[in-house]
Symmetry: D2
Subunit: 143 residues, 4 copies
């Protein structure tokens, strides 16, 4: 069984546009919050790593397919898997669903970065080991 | 005992600015989500009233005092009281705290509005009765 | 003649909610950008004062009256006056109009703050003199 | 010479996160505003097509590469080309630069959609002809 991080988010009025469905930049703001929750779950809260250790995980690549619109008031299920791990990067795969229907998917690459020098850094050893325990290939992940 | 609606919100990375504390427009986006949750709790989900009944509760007045900054990663406690009820408006009072410290307060006036005509309407009878049951004066509310 | 800073902003699709009118937290995000432009016009770009001098002007009080809705696609005229100057604070008055119709007004208090200590500081002498040259009373300002 | 739509955007304080560089969901909110300006330039303002003709152009695919961070206070140059035109979709290519340095690029697919039925529709004939006049292949476009 692949390790999948799951969490829910209500799609709020303020996340939607004139069509009553999610405004896509708001989707990505929500996704970033899901990533923040995931890192906290791993034991590396962004609060700690950014304030204390002065590194972060900016997004260097993002690819999204929006297949079905989501209406405000709906609760969305986020699933996150780790599908690739590099020396200083990690590739996440996201699936966002509601009522068993996939609404959108995303592949996102984060890079470990020194916040003061704005340069990429290798993963700290403990972070690397933690991420390795989540690693699965996309086929096994199933989305 | 005054009726107070309480809910929590994590202050996320994306809600904060370069100082690492809440960007005030993001505070108001969060507050709007708290209001949305409150109306759902009353039995009048915005989803239903907006889509089905074609009325809403736009903000016509807002006053905020930001007394202490909030850091990203903190969990904020929102308290909401109903301090005044008019023919087609309601005045809400909000207190937002963290670790027993008040971070900011707000007084907000919402007006019942016909979404198609963009005009104010009297509260539907059942909504009026529901809001009356929450009504308290600000002194009793205590914030 | 009172000194008034004027600038325009298009109300974009992404600033509007399901009603097709401005989402009020987006209004405040736009207002913050107008303030940023005003400070740049004064010769104190936020970029410089925040990065180089390590002080900023967080909002400590905000009061808004939203009298008429604004539709997406409209261009809004922002007018800003300085109506009060304290030792470490400044009170701004904003009027936002479209086609000679006032859409909303706001009174906003900014406090000069040390960004590292999160404490208020007196205005630097040159900033104080610059702001004094803009000072007018609200009656003369006319909004 | 390929047809390229060009416009500038100041990166504002409110678009940046704790690192002082652009928060990527804000980048996409800005990008959406650039698209809105492009459609207005074509003669199809979103205001008109959404309110009057009841169709829109939601994003169905988005791919971004963020190669260099952008600092708040910088002015970004947006370049937009049309690289593919389908029966009811159009593929846009974006390059965002500052001081001759590419900061990020994006490929975005928009689909013509009926806003009431939430279904895709073929481009209206006049829109199709207008977009055809902008069509270029990505190699010729050069980014």
């Amino acid at each position: 069984m692949p390790k999948i991080f799951k969490t829910d988010r209500a799609l709020r009025f303020g996340d939607c546009d004139i069509s009553g469905t999610a405004y896509f930049p708001s989707y990505l703001d929500i996704l970033n919050g899901v990533n923040e929750e995931f890192w906290g779950h791993l034991g590396y809260s962004w609060h700690t790593i950014i304030w204390t250790q002065r590194w972060g995980t900016p997004t260097v690549h993002l690819s999204c397919d929006f297949s079905k619109p989501s209406l405000f008031g709906e609760t969305l299920s986020f699933e996150l898997g780790v599908i690739k791990l590099g020396r200083s990067s990690v590739t996440l795969r996201h699936r966002i669903s509601c009522k068993q229907e996939v609404r959108w998917t995303s592949t996102q690459v984060l890079a470990a970065s020194d916040l003061d020098k704005h340069t990429s850094i290798p993963w700290p050893e403990d972070v690397k080991h933690t991420l390795e325990a989540w690693l699965t290939d996309q086929e096994t992940l199933g989305f």
